[in-house]
Symmetry: C2
């Protein structure tokens, strides 16, 4: 977490620990701080604070969105596990992304049936960094609505996006994106873990999964996570403030890293869209190498990289995203995913580049001997 985020949260751990729903004045101060934090989060999305349902993270938000709308769902084979697992509970179609992990509006349109109620596409892929053309996909949804209306089909259709990966680097104004529901996660912007939100347009009816005291407009009960939401708002403010500068800075660092690795290993394979890609993401595969061995070697030198997504990595299975984009096993198993962030700078990226080149060379030498 950003130290400024931790500092913003501290008062709500101790002196301001009152239940925001309690009637006495110190609790009202807490309630106002909570509402102000939601307003601030809403501001980044271009909506009002009370349109947001605060949750325990993106996974819960996605499940709440799917639970609320159900019906036939269209999503992609490169989506996060949270989306894929939530979708499994309903009739659904998985659109096949192209080899860059991209979903085109045409692909989405082809998958929409007359009874499709929800299309869910993440703003950017968490492994490849590929940014999806959400605005153009939203245009497809609008066309479908018009066509349905003209044919007397009153089945609603909504566009949901998990924007957790994009926040801090992309514009997440919901009107400009054209989405009807949006999920965000605090931990992806140097905020606290287990804090997220779901925004839904006023014409979308949300159906609670967790019922009780009626918090969050009755949509998600449970005593409010005041410290967590205040931290989320602070993290989002910091991310929005530096978004343009930080994106440019990370893209420059990432491009340098990418160019040096490609120069050293001309047979390496870059995955993800090379233009529409998150600034801090680099996905590179070294054919015939065991990426896990490189990962452990790099770790002992202080360079932390990933192979698949963290969830899949822990299960010892190959990344479903790499399978989905058709990367052959020999290439997929040599894949390393690097993410740059606030703490990345010219100096440590130069050092990391050197370590990676050395360790990949060492591993190639071992395999070839």
């Amino acid at each position: 977490m950003d130290p400024k985020v931790v500092a913003a949260m501290q008062p709500y751990f101790s002196e301001n620990f009152y239940n925001p729903s309690a009637p006495y004045a110190p609790a009202i101060v807490v309630r106002r701080a909570y509402q102000a934090a939601k307003d601030s989060l809403g501001h980044t999305l271009g909506v009002k604070g009370d349109e947001l349902v605060m949750t325990a993270g993106a996974t819960e938000s996605i499940n709440l969105a799917f639970h609320s709308i159900g019906g036939h769902i269209v999503t992609a084979n490169v989506e996060h596990h949270a989306v894929l697992e939530a979708a499994k509970q309903y009739e659904h179609t998985l659109v096949k992304a192209d080899e860059r992990g991209l979903m085109t509006p045409t692909m989405v349109k082809a998958a929409i049936r007359s009874d499709t109620r929800l299309v869910s596409i993440a703003i950017a892929n968490n492994e490849l960094g590929t940014i999806q053309p959400l605005r153009a996909i939203a245009e497809v949804i609008r066309e479908v609505r018009k066509t349905r209306l003209a044919h007397g089909n009153h089945t609603p259709i909504y566009l949901h996006s998990d924007a957790s990966q994009g926040v801090g680097q992309l514009d997440i104004n919901v009107a400009r994106l054209g989405v009807d529901l949006l999920t965000l996660n605090a931990a992806k912007v140097y905020g606290p873990k287990q804090v997220g939100l779901l925004w839904a347009a006023s014409f979308v009816t949300l159906n609670p999964q967790v019922r009780g005291g009626g918090q969050e407009g009755g949509i998600r009960s449970g005593t409010e996570n005041v410290a967590g939401v205040v931290g989320f708002a602070k993290a989002m403010e910091l991310a929005s403030e530096h978004r343009k500068y930080e994106s440019d800075r990370l893209a420059t660092l990432r491009d340098t890293l990418q160019n040096k690795l490609m120069a050293a290993f001309p047979n390496a394979v870059l995955s993800g869209h090379q233009k529409h890609r998150l600034a801090g993401h680099l996905h590179i595969s070294f054919p015939n190498l065991d990426a896990e061995r490189v990962l452990f070697a790099l770790e002992s030198r202080g360079v932390l990289v990933a192979t698949g997504s963290a969830c899949a990595a822990n299960k010892g299975t190959r990344s479903h995203v790499l399978t989905a984009i058709g990367l052959p096993p020999k290439i997929a198993d040599g894949s390393i995913r690097m993410t740059l962030g606030h703490m990345s700078n010219e100096e440590n990226i130069a050092q990391a580049t050197m370590h990676i080149i050395e360790e990949v060379r060492r591993e190639y030498a071992r395999v070839q001997s």
Copy 2:
């Protein structure tokens, strides 16, 4: 929160902020800390750490338990809103508690049908402090199981208890309580908000509401709340360590407060079981007074008391618990609920007693003039 809890959480906000499911070594350290925290929590319940499903609080735990078992549910009309609202989604019977808020085993037995799958009784009532005879109720459940087996009825029946109110003052060993599922909340033991757990016996099948990366044994997905769970474990350790001493200390303080108030206002009405009651709870009603006016007057003098439960208070409705125990409106509306805790001591309770007596006298004088 207890300052020791905040201190225990701090490292997991910054240097140990890794995703515990990530493959590299610093993340494994975080994963071990997370597992150690769950083991420590399990120890208090007399179970293994990996039998616990960590959630975003008691409300989510209760909803998960009900969602998993469903069927006909037996619960009480004095239960917390989280239980009542979760129960509304299923066929259910609300047992009427007696005038002390007590549920007897006989009452529970009478409400169980041949298709009842779940009985849910909180360990103690959050407004009145009345402690329920859980062990004797568990005995009823065991008898029902035997009878069902003898009659070839294979419908399972489980006992769930929300023990959030009792933790820190009561023994919550699940074997001694005889429960099959147990819910706990961290904030009730000076731990963080939005952290809770659900324990279920190995023979109970839980059915996830939130699906995704497969955390918590696949029962509750989402990146783990490491800081929150570490804080919960620390809070629980502190609470367990001082449980006996703290219960006795609070009961003594509470009894002094109660005796002085009853001496000053002999017409006041005490609610809740006077013997089987949480040590820190005092529920007292001043007939014909408007408790809210007293609450606001006391607040300006630094004494924070409540009228109904926080959730209900915020909606301006009379507490459903007071209605359930048959307290007439003229008495119920003059009800004040006081909870003593770690920060209560002889000196501030003596001061509070004085303020309460003065303000109640002032309010009686106003009403009678």
